[in-house]
Every structure is written in structure tokens, then in C-alpha cells.
Symmetry: D2
Subunit: 127 residues, 4 copies
């Protein structure tokens, strides 16, 4: 998915604040799921969340206001109790690598307890 | 309450982004309630929220990173179905007026329906 | 412009936090300008900002995670020293009105002083 | 430093959104510097930023609205071209570990080029 950098996402250094990239990763993985007919909204409504257990970001080149940024999401691992995504943020159209990242997720119920991901969700993730 | 401006709250104009002020108003009114022994956390846990129905902000002088900002909250109106707060943001220690604002709230239940504010909450608000 | 509600934009009431709407208004007016061949990025780079002087939001119906929201921006007034935009946020595809709003802007230079909007910018705004 | 969790920092899971923790880390390291008579505001004003090059967060236990969170910052490494901070977020008063993290920084000038940290800044950091 491509997104346009919002003015509100910049900071006084004149670049996107580093805390914004995890928000873009999240938007990217939700779209990744949608393209596989997995609705994260429906998963949430069913009472299961993919809680973030770990996050890493490597900042390569700053993103700026009004840049068009492609969020490339890749599924790194999928097990019933852990999902891992990798990300690459790539400025369009010149292809500059803005950042890479990884997020590790644990399926949890509404009380925050770790649970198994439902089979209907896991199956499409495991090749 | 006083708060320190965070770097993340600035934008590339070098000042606090205008969308941050409502967040400070909110923090201010939660503290205002706490000082009157009203826990907004407990109200939320009981299933009632003070949903924002209307918001106004007048921006007077920019706030900058690391400024110390006093949030002055005043209860403008309190009825069982509407609460209105006024705010003044004042830079410390020089007293420069940064912004004024108003938020109008409607008590709602978990499904978003308007409800009456419980008497235990309303009584301390009405003089 | 249409935008997809991000998970990060929700709060514990299960709806979009009220401080997010001004961010969407801003994204909307930047796109409004782009459609008229006005690049807000270039205006910023030239040293002129449209500082927000006043903001109003009326919240009608909550927006939720993964909703598709149309931001309709309308120019309400354009003078060399003041620009006013109106907004309507409309959920797609059912057309539910989520919020309306207004932002008043003052052209400022890098030091924050009010200046006249350059004629090349004002002309396309005044019919 | 201690901070109070803002309502705006929660998401629809009912906990603090994971993108907020880097903002708290940042607030923590600015206070860490202030306690050593290092003003990050002045460093910024002199044209030097500590750009974030890398970020890691491990999420242990969710933080919730109105929690009081202690941000413990530790300097992990300080060289003229790289500063590394470690963080622990600890809920007060019960001492529950909410998260740990690390941020790696590169001193940069206004154009984003890596530069050496001025000696007046480096000296107090190196024991």
C-alpha cells in the first residue's frame, strides 16, 4: 500500500517523527491481510487481537511531508501463538529505502491472555 | 496541571502541531476531575464515557518543544446530559497565553447512546 | 480524498479519538490544494505556512477502525491574510456524516509573523 | 521521570498503543539530559539533532489509561558519532515492568548529515 505523508507526522527536524513508522507498519499489515481476505477488523470484533510483543525499526533515510511512501509487508513467521511481519518503507517513485522493520505479535483475547490464532486465520498464513 | 512539550508534539513549522492541543485539554480535564475526587478512569470502567460532541480551539501564540505549559480547565456547564469545559493554555513561567478552547461532552454508554450522568458524578459538578 | 481509519487512531472507547479529525482535515485541504495545482509542500519550502488560528469540530457519528472516510474540503473564504476551510467527513459507502469542521488560517513566515499570501497562491483561490 | 497515561494514548484494545512507547522514551531521555544540565532544546537550536537510527521495543505488560509510568533511561554508549539509550517503563506504584527498549542515535546537522557531537556534550556523557 502507498500512503501520503501527513503534515502532522513531521517534527521540528523537518522529517517524519520516528514514532510514526510503527503506525505505517500497522496500516501496511492490515492491508496485507485484506488482500488475503483476512479482515483484521473482524478478528478484533471476534475478540482476538494481534498484540505487539516486540518491535524493531531501522531508520535509513528520512521521510518528509507529502512524500509518497510504499509500505511493503512480508510475513516472516506464522504459528498459532506467534505472527511475525517484516516491513520495508520505500519512497515513491525514486525507490529510496526509508526504513525497515519487524513486528512480533501474539494472539490475545479481550482480557489480554495469549490464545491460539483460530485455524481459519492461521491456514491462509501458512503456505 | 503543567506539562512539558514533547519533541514528538512538534511539526516541521518548529511549533506544536495544532492537533495536540485537544490532547492537552483532555489531560487537563482528567486532572481537574481527579482534584475533585472524580476518577474518569472509574467512570469509563463503569461503562460511561464523556464523548466529545463539539470542540473549539483558538490559537494565540505557538508552543514550542520543551516549553512548560499550564492547562487551566474550568467547568462551564454541567447538566445530566451535557458537560462543557473551557481551557486556557499558559506558558510557564512568563504567562504567555498559548491557546483557549472549549469542549462539549455528552455522557454515553458503551454502545455510544446518550445517557444521563450518574448523580454521584453530577452532584460535585453542580454548585 | 478518501482515507482508511488506522488502528492507531482509535481509543479505548472503540472509536476514533477526537484529536484525529483535525489531522484528517489537514490531509484533506492539502489534497484540495493539490487538485488546484497548489503544492502546500512548495509553499512551506518557500518559507510560508498557513498557520491554524482557529479550529472547530462538531462530532456527529463515531468513526471506527477500518472505516473508509471521505474528507470533503470547501474553501469558505480566501483573503491575502486569512484562509478559511470547511470540512465534512462522510463514511463510505453509506454516506453517514461523521463530523463537520472549520479551520481558519493565517499566512505566516518562518518567524511566525503574519504575512500576505503570495498572489500566485491567492489568485487561484479567489473566483 | 513519571508520566500519566493520556486517554488519547489508548487504542480500542483498551491499552496504550504500541507506537506511544517511543514517544515516552524520547521524553525520558530529554529529562535524563536535563538532569545532567544538557538541554536538548539548546542542542537543537544550535543546529544539531540526535536522529534516531534504530529503535527496539519489547512489550511486557500493557499500560492503561491513567496509569502512572516511570521512564527509566540509561546511557548505554556514548561516542562522538553514536549515542545509545536503554529504557525501562515501570508502572507505579506496583513496579510492574511494562516495556523495555533501546534507541540508537546519530548526531546530525540541519541538512541531515552525520556530524560529531560537540565536546561540551560528549564530555558529560563519557565517564
Amino acid at each position: 500500500m502507498d500512503l501520503r505523508v501527513r503534515f502532522a507526522e513531521t517534527d521540528q527536524m523537518g522529517v517524519v517523527h520516528h514514532s510514526v513508522y510503527p503506525v505505517w507498519f500497522e496500516a501496511g499489515r492490515v492491508e496485507w491481510m485484506r488482500q488475503r481476505s483476512l479482515s483484521y477488523r473482524e478478528l478484533e470484533e471476534s475478540g482476538i487481537s494481534l498484540a505487539v510483543a516486540r518491535l524493531e525499526v531501522a531508520y535509513r533515510s528520512p521521510a518528509r511531508f507529502d512524500d509518497l511512501i510504499r509500505v511493503e509487508s512480508t510475513l516472516h513467521a506464522a504459528r498459532s501463538r506467534q505472527i511475525v511481519f517484516d516491513y520495508r518503507l520505500i519512497r515513491q517513485p525514486d525507490g529510496v529505502l526509508v526504513a525497515t522493520g519487524r513486528s512480533e505479535h501474539v494472539p490475545t483475547d479481550r482480557s489480554g491472555r495469549a490464545v491460539r490464532l483460530p485455524g481459519a486465520w492461521l491456514a491462509p498464513l501458512v503456505p
